[in-house]
C-alpha cells in the first residue's frame, strides 16, 4: 500500500470526501468541493444529499460539473428550486454541511474572497462572495478547502467576506449568525479544526511527507496543535480508482 502514487489535489479530494457522512445534506461550493462531494457519494455516502446555489437539490451527476449551475448539477435532480429558496431552506435547518473554497482564511476561520490589500485600493480584486457568505452563515458546519501558504493563511484576512468565528469566542452569537461556523479546513499540507474554547484554528493531521514544523512555517499565525495530531491517511486504491475513473476522468480538477 505504501507505494500508492497520488497528486496533492487527489489527496485533497479524498480527505474531503471522507469528512462527508452518509445521509447528510451538503451545500456544495465550486471547485474541489464539487469533486469531494461527488467522490463521497460514489464511495461511502450514497445517501448524501447535495445542494447547489443555482437551486438544484440532490442530483445524480454522471460527469463532473464545470460550474455549480452546470446542467450536470441538475441531472436527475428530483426538484429544482430557486436561489433564494435553497438558501432559505438552509436557514430553516435543511443543510448540515457547507463546503467552500476561497482565497484567504484566518485563525478564526474567516474567509476572504473579495480583495487582497485594502478594499478601497486592492492589489488584487477577487470574485466577491457568491454564495459562500450565505453557506457559511446558514449551514450547520463549514468545511473550507484551499492552498496552504502564509499569505493565504494570515492572522486576519484583508476582508471578511464569509464569517468564521469573526473575532473569537461568542462573536458569531453576538453578530446574530445562526449556523455553527467553521468545522474543518483542508489544505494541501494538513487538516485543521478549531479549538472549542478559543475558536482558533488547530492542526488535527498532517499529510504524508509533511511535518508540523513545515505547516507552521506555511501558516501566517500560531497554529494550535491537537493533542491527538497524526498523519493523514493516504488515499486508498479504491478511492483513487473511483476518483480517476468515475469522478474526474478528464482531470478537470485533480491534475
Amino acid at each position: 500500500m505504501s507505494d500508492i502514487q497520488y497528486t496533492p489535489r487527489e489527496l485533497l479530494a479524498c480527505v474531503a470526501a471522507r469528512l462527508l457522512k452518509d445521509g447528510e445534506s451538503v451545500f456544495v461550493g465550486t471547485g474541489l468541493p464539487l469533486v469531494g462531494a461527488m467522490l463521497a457519494k460514489k464511495l461511502h455516502a450514497p445517501n448524501m444529499m447535495s445542494i447547489y446555489e443555482c437551486g438544484a437539490v440532490d442530483p445524480q451527476p454522471r460527469q463532473l460539473p464545470w460550474s455549480v449551475a452546470d446542467p450536470w448539477t441538475l441531472y436527475q435532480a428530483p426538484v429544482i428550486l430557486s436561489m433564494s429558496s435553497v438558501f432559505g431552506h438552509s436557514r430553516a435547518g435543511y443543510a448540515d454541511v457547507g463546503f467552500l473554497g476561497g482565497a484567504q482564511i484566518d485563525m478564526y476561520g474567516n474567509i476572504n474572497a473579495t480583495c487582497i490589500g485594502p478594499y478601497e485600493k486592492p492589489t488584487v480584486r477577487l470574485t466577491g462572495s457568491g454564495g459562500a457568505n450565505d453557506i457559511a452563515s446558514l449551514c450547520q458546519r463549514v468545511i473550507f478547502m484551499g492552498l496552504h501558504l502564509p499569505q493565504r493563511f494570515p492572522e486576519r484576512v484583508d476582508y471578511i467576506t464569509t464569517p468564521g468565528f469573526l473575532d473569537g469566542p461568542g462573536a458569531r452569537e453576538r453578530a446574530g449568525l445562526v449556523g455553527g461556523g467553521p468545522w474543518r479546513v483542508i489544505s494541501h499540507l494538513g487538516v485543521m479544526g478549531f479549538d472549542e474554547e478559543t475558536c482558533r484554528m488547530k492542526l488535527l493531521s498532517y499529510h504524508p511527507g509533511v511535518t508540523i514544523e513545515v505547516i507552521q512555517e506555511f501558516t501566517g499565525f500560531e497554529l494550535l496543535v491537537d493533542q491527538d495530531v497524526h498523519e493523514t491517511e493516504k488515499p486508498t486504491e479504491e478511492e483513487l480508482y473511483i476518483l480517476r475513473n468515475e469522478v474526474d476522468p478528464c482531470q478537470l480538477f485533480c491534475f
Binding site: Y75, S84, Y119, G128, S129, N133, S137, G176
Partner: protein, 352 residues
C-alpha cells in the same frame, strides 16, 4: 438623468413605470438589435440573469457592445462576461455579489477596472442577499430581514443594507431592501410572441428579476405557439406582462451553456478568460474582431469555428453533443430531435 443608483431602490418610480405597461397580449417580436436599441439606455442599471454563463443572454450582451451603449451599471449575481464593456466606456460601475468564472478564475477585465478605479464597485452583496432583494421586489415587500452577511465586511461596504435588532427576538438581523434594476435581459428555451417564457433547468432568480426590473427583454432559442405555452405553463418562469420585447436568438447563450441544448464552449471560454482578455490591448483586439467586426452571434460562432479549423455546423453540433442529456428535462410537446434539426438550419442560414 439621475444616476442609476438613485432609481435602484425607488419602489414608487418602479411601480409607476409598470402601471403604464400594457397587459394586452401584444406581439412583441423584434430583431435583437432593435430591442437593445430601444430598451437598453445609456446609464441604465442592468442585472445578470440565469446563472451568468449558464443560460445567460450573452448574444444580447455582445449586441450591447456593438451598439456602444455608455455608462451602464452592472448588477452581478453572479456576473460573467459583460463587464468587458467598461474598458470601452460601456460600464461605469457595479453592484457585486460575484464576478468570475469559478474554477477558471477571475475575469481580468473586471480585476483591471476595479484595481485601477475605473470601474466603481458601489456595493458588495452575497448571492443570497441579492436574491432576497430581488425576491422582496417580486413579493411586494419593502425589505426582508435575513441572517446572511452578518458580522462581515460586506455590511460595511454596502450602503444599502442595515443591521437592526429583530423586534420580536431582539437578535441582530440584516435588512435587505427591495431592488428594482432598470433593465434585465433573459435567455430562455421557448417564448411565445407575447413574452411568456419557458425554461428547462434552474430558474435561479429569473422570476423575481422579471418582476423587479423596469424593462425586460427576452431572447429565446425558439418562439413557440402561445397554445403550447398555455398547455404546459409549469415551466414558464416569466409572465408576458413583464416583457417588453421578444427576440428569437438560437444559440443566444453561446459561449455559455444552455441546459439540455448545448454545453459551454469551453475552449473559447478558456481562451477568452486566460488569454484574449488578459491585457487591455488583447481585449481590444478580440472585441474589434469578434464584436465590432461581426453583425450578430452567428458571425461570431463562424469566426470561432474558423479559428478551430471547423465547419460552423460541425462546431455547433459538437457543443450540442456535449450537452447534458436533454431527455432528463421535461421537453413538453417539443421533441429534441426536431428542435436540433431546426436549429442547425437556423445557424446555417444566419451564419452565411
Amino acid at each position: 438623468m439621475p444616476h442609476a443608483n438613485e432609481r435602484l431602490f425607488d419602489h414608487q418610480f418602479a411601480r409607476e413605470w409598470k402601471l403604464k405597461k400594457s397587459r394586452a397580449e401584444k406581439d412583441k417580436r423584434m430583431p435583437l438589435s432593435d430591442a437593445i436599441a430601444q430598451f437598453v439606455e445609456d446609464g441604465d442599471s442592468i442585472i445578470e440573469t440565469g446563472f451568468a454563463y449558464v443560460r445567460g443572454p450573452l448574444g444580447a450582451y455582445w449586441e450591447i457592445g456593438r451598439q456602444k451603449k455608455k455608462d451602464l451599471v452592472g448588477i452581478f449575481t453572479p456576473g460573467g462576461l459583460n463587464n468587458v464593456w467598461h474598458e470601452f466606456g460601456g460600464m461605469e460601475g457595479a453592484h457585486v455579489a460575484y464576478v468570475g468564472v469559478e474554477m477558471r478564475g477571475l475575469i481580468s477585465t473586471f480585476r483591471r477596472g476595479v484595481e485601477a478605479g475605473t470601474l466603481k464597485v458601489y456595493s458588495e452583496w452575497s448571492h443570497g442577499g441579492l436574491a432576497l432583494a430581488l425576491r422582496a421586489a417580486e413579493q411586494g415587500l419593502n425589505y426582508v430581514a435575513c441572517k446572511s452577511m452578518l458580522g462581515t465586511d460586506i455590511i460595511k461596504t454596502n450602503p444599502y443594507i442595515k443591521v437592526e435588532n429583530d423586534p420580536w427576538t431582539g437578535e441582530p438581523v440584516c435588512l435587505v431592501p427591495a431592488i428594482y434594476p432598470d433593465v434585465a435581459i433573459f435567455h430562455v428555451h421557448h417564448a411565445d410572441k407575447y413574452g411568456n417564457s419557458r425554461i428547462w433547468g434552474a430558474s435561479v432568480n429569473d422570476t423575481a428579476i422579471a418582476v423587479a426590473a423596469r424593462k425586460v427583454v427576452v431572447t429565446c432559442e425558439r418562439i413557440v405557439d402561445t397554445l403550447d405555452i398555455r398547455s404546459n405553463p409549469y415551466q414558464v418562469v416569466i409572465p408576458h406582462y413583464c416583457v417588453d420585447a421578444v427576440c428569437e436568438v438560437p444559440f443566444g447563450a453561446w459561449p455559455g451553456d444552455m441546459p439540455g441544448m448545448y454545453y459551454f464552449d469551453r475552449r473559447l471560454q478558456e481562451r477568452v478568460v486566460r488569454i484574449e482578455w488578459k491585457t487591455p490591448e488583447a481585449t481590444k483586439n478580440w472585441i474589434e474582431k469578434y464584436i465590432y467586426g461581426t453583425k450578430d452571434v452567428y458571425e461570431m460562432i463562424q469566426l470561432a469555428a474558423e479559428e478551430e479549423g471547423m465547419n460552423v455546423l460541425d462546431y455547433v453540433k459538437r457543443l450540442e453533443q456535449l450537452a447534458c442529456d436533454a431527455a432528463f428535462y421535461n421537453l413538453g410537446s417539443w421533441g429534441i430531435g426536431g428542435e436540433r434539426d431546426w436549429r442547425y438550419e437556423e445557424v446555417a442560414k444566419r451564419a452565411i
